[in-house]
Symmetry: C2
């Protein structure tokens, strides 16, 4: 039953050989990996204007130089990540770059903060999408958390179905959003050039602004940098691309960067030219669209696709998280289960973990995840900075042809991202101090996991100079509860393996003990019966003591001890409550506490 529900939800299993078919071409990869980055166009400009608005409307012209700064940073990041893609064609992004060039801990900091960041991406973007839905249908407002959870479950299932399938479904809304914004920007610019928009709206660039400070401008710049989250996703996900993977990934990256730059520039320019101020209850994009089209069907088209892409931004997390977890797990920093491909060839443990973690986050914050946004921006600029630094070290060490140009690109990138990071810590410490607690914790956990796996490897390694202990024979202990068919089966099985058999009977009263001994003597005179009297009506305690004695004696003679426990298999599951589950408890106890082999002999009831 359960397995057919699974089939229905995620489809039938795929053969390993179908892995090639599951890889992405550029168009699909762009849809799936750029939704996070592109969706930030919907709020990037607004973030800048909100900071500038604290001074005055006259300061709005600063959004243009700030946007130019962000474009420079974007170009540096794109160039830098392009170099990372070619240098580390097996993926892993900031984690691998930092680990190989700076050191283990830098890599783990990058990896850890990205992992947390993807969880935040999912929680924040799904919450934002849910807000859009409940704004449209206020009666749903009391169900915000449930709706968000259902959306996460939906995206999780979509991703469990496999990359190509989700890419096919998600490509439409992503491209629709891009088309919608191009129409908006195109029509807007057309109207400006044909003079349909009055130029009096906006303040001339360079107008003097009272009270403006460098600190404020830096803060506006840092806020605008939230438009850059998600650009690293492609570098983590190279293995999901069709061959030649690095080349395709690089192309996708350039394409994404160009789209992002064009859309961000267009929106920022229109906002400036229209003289739009951020409002509490209407987004900047909505204001631009209203100004351009009025409230007609084109306006709603813009609004609809924007809401959709905000939800789908979550999907970038689903593409990148499992691959990053795979990289960390392959290096033994995370549980091995993250390296296993599921039925549909995705790393389903990573997908499911991401889904669960973000649902927990949504529930914990009751669907109000806005104040997680600064944390989320910091979480992405830490790996940005580390990976650029890593690349700088790499160029300095390897000095390949043209390394100066490459170094320059990364140096500029590193300086800007480091600046942004510092600005974040300085201006928003109250919201991001938490990073200083959880990052060390995560890195510590990674290191502990590695220590364990290495200890395990050590203990499992066969030492050719120390051969395993020789086994000269076997003793089998058969706990018996009566003279029944299942005991008969057990004794016969034990007899077929060894002649050193102890049948053990635990009795609670002396008379019963005597009676049983007599019956046994008649039934199995050749099998030694040991009766143990239990004063406290516990089967386990006397049995455990007896096993210890036998084990001690046996190991002196290079004998191994096996305890044979029968297990009733009932026909219907409710029948289980009618049987003592003592065989289960005894087995668990012996396996975990003793050095004996525990054999389970199933006895299947036919009715």
């Amino acid at each position: 039953m359960l397995s057919s529900v699974k089939r229905l939800l995620i489809g039938r299993p795929l053969k390993s050989t179908a892995l090639g078919e599951q890889k992405l071409n550029i168009l699909k990869a762009l849809a799936i990996l750029s939704s996070d980055a592109l969706s930030s166009v919907a709020y990037g400009t607004e973030q800048i204007l909100i900071v500038l608005a604290t001074i005055s409307v006259i300061a709005f012209w600063y959004s243009i130089p700030i946007a130019v700064g962000i474009l420079v940073l974007l170009a540096a990041l794109i160039l830098s990540y392009r170099q990372i893609i070619y240098s580390y064609p097996h993926g892993g992004g900031a984690y691998v770059v930092s680990k190989e060039n700076i050191g283990e801990k830098a890599g783990l900091i990058a990896g850890g903060s990205l992992l947390v960041d993807y969880i935040l991406t999912v929680a924040v973007s799904v919450s934002a999408g849910t807000d859009a839905i409940t704004s449209a249908f206020p009666s749903l407002h009391t169900h915000t958390v449930s709706i968000a959870c259902v959306l996460v479950i939906f995206i999780t299932i979509l991703n469990l179905r496999g990359l190509t399938e989700s890419a096919s479904i998600l490509a439409y809304p992503v491209y629709l959003f891009v088309v919608a914004l191009f129409i908006l920007i195109g029509v807007g610019i057309f109207k400006i050039f044909t003079g349909q928009v009055s130029p009096t709206h906006h303040v001339a660039i360079g107008a003097p602004v009272q009270g403006i400070t460098l600190f404020l401008l830096l803060r506006a710049f840092a806020s605008g940098c939230s438009a850059l989250t998600g650009v690293e996703a492609i570098s983590n996900a190279i293995p999901t691309f069709k061959d030649p993977a690095p080349k395709n990934a690089a192309k996708t990256l350039i394409l994404m960067g160009s789209l992002l730059a064009l859309l961000f520039t267009g929106i920022t320019f229109l906002a400036y030219y229209y003289g739009i101020a951020p409002k509490h209850d209407e987004t900047v994009v909505s204001q631009i669209a209203k100004e351009t089209f009025g409230r007609n069907y084109l306006y709603f088209f813009i609004q609809g696709t924007t809401a959709l892409i905000l939800v789908l931004a979550a999907n970038t997390g689903y593409s990148a998280f499992p691959l990053l977890a795979f990289s960390l797990a392959k290096d033994k920093y995370m549980p091995r289960m993250f390296t296993i491909r599921g039925d549909r060839l995705g790393y389903s443990n990573g997908i499911v973990s991401l889904g669960i973690a973000s649902i927990l986050l949504i529930i914990a914050f009751k669907g109000k995840t806005e104040h997680l946004i600064p944390l989320y921006a910091v979480g992405v600029f830490i790996p940005f900075t580390l990976s650029q630094t890593g690349m700088i070290i790499k160029w300095l060490r390897e000095k390949p042809a043209g390394w100066v140009a490459k170094l320059t690109a990364n140096l500029i990138g590193a300086l800007i991202t480091l600046t942004v990071l510092i600005i974040f810590f300085v201006t928003k410490l109250g919201q991001v101090w938490f990073v200083f607690i959880f990052l060390p914790l995560i890195v510590f956990a990674f290191l502990r996991v590695k220590v364990h796996y290495e200890a395990v490897g050590e203990q499992l390694r066969i030492d050719p100079e120390k051969p395993a202990l020789q086994i000269d024979g076997n003793v089998i202990i058969v706990p018996v509860a009566g003279i029944t068919k299942v005991v008969e089966n057990s004794i016969n099985y034990a007899k077929s393996l060894t002649d050193q058999i102890f049948a053990v009977y635990v009795s609670f009263d002396r008379e019963d003990e005597k009676r049983f001994e007599e019956k046994w003597e008649k039934w199995q005179p050749n099998v030694r019966l040991v009766t143990l009297h239990s004063h406290y009506r516990s089967v386990l305690q006397p049995l455990s003591k007896f096993i210890d004695t036998v084990e001690h004696k046996a190991s002196e003679n290079n004998y191994r001890v096996t305890v044979l426990i029968p297990q009733f298999i009932t026909k219907k599951s409710w029948h289980n409550i009618l049987h003592n589950q003592s065989s289960f408890l005894i087995r668990a106890y012996l396996i975990f506490k003793k050095k004996v082999i525990v054999s389970t002999l199933p006895f299947h009831f036919k009715k």
Copy 2:
């Protein structure tokens, strides 16, 4: 840790030989088994007056003839149960009497309704006690359910500690209550005889009352019969008495009946003579006490002991439920676990089940269990009627010396209890119809359990004419995941048992398969290696198929198949998430689905 908490709460385990010391003398038994019956004095008279008050104050004199009727019924019940005790000295009460004389289903109806009744006793009396507490301390009112649950847990733990211990603790409040009521009645009667109470309060007996109907009188009688709940408890609990158990039980029963009769008569008489009318916010006993003493310390003594005994009435359920469950389980109508004595020699599964069931009931009804009271009265009059009927049949069949007198006692009892039952169904159908649903369900469940146990017995019986299949040899299958120490151990163990060994390696890709085969050939050239290719990356599926093939072949040659699965035992429990739990899943699957023996070879990590 867990076990030391258990020690602290319920004490160290007792030896089985201490069972005799755990038995009760008459005084302790009376305390523990009569609290339910005696506590009903606190509300029995009031129940009658509430019904009469619907006509007029003049009708109150009817409480005297009604009380006489109830006393007759009480006498008949006590005589009848005394006969049951001697006829069925091993306990079981109404269940055994009805089963042996009327039939299986009658017995199960009696047993089932008593079991449910004991759960109701606990829920109702603890809720009543909680109400008394929250009335005294209104700030606790919001915590009613939690307080009731804590009380149930407290009584459960007390009972888990053992009979004698709880009897010693509970004897004080029970006897204090009896003493308190005797003082009240004594002083009251003394005041009446010395003329300190004005006789004008009450209506003369025999005064004509307008509008009185037989139906109403019967209803008042039925309501008053709630004073009789709990008298059957002793007959279920004979095995807890010191030897000679039946004699001691009979004495206790007579003692309890006499106390109940005296107290009930006294309270009813005082209520009548004082002309007390039932009030919404004050109990009849409280009014009598106030009238007799004024609000002095004696008044509060009466009130305090009354509240205490209402809570302790629950304890009767704890004494009788586990013993009744034991009787039903011994006859295979209930899970076998109810026949097992716990650490302190009580039937702890019964005690814990009763506790859980009543907590669930309290939570479900949010602590407002008053409307369960009619259900509870019906639940006790069904077994009353059935057991009397059973005794009638017994006397008619056996005709021992003096059977006519015995028959007469039971006949009167049966007729009265049947009448009460019919009155209940007629006057309170809306509250008790539920009985018609749950009693058949419970009886059905009992019968299904019996059918299962009998089928099991059948299947476990050794048929001397059909000896068990001979075993000519053993095949051991060892799934291997690499060349490690744990595999070395497994192979060595398997070699020591048989020479028919298959090492099975499940590979997900062809190259890896080839590499492994070569490595194996070098390492263990004498052990056959079977490599299975898994298209769908499942280990279980190809392994299961292979096992089927081997099993089929083996069973043709009278060989048995054992699958040897290594199990990592980690040093710290969090390490478990770092290891695939596949060995656990494979083991469970094979045990439940296949006819192979599954052996677990533990590998204990040292760090």
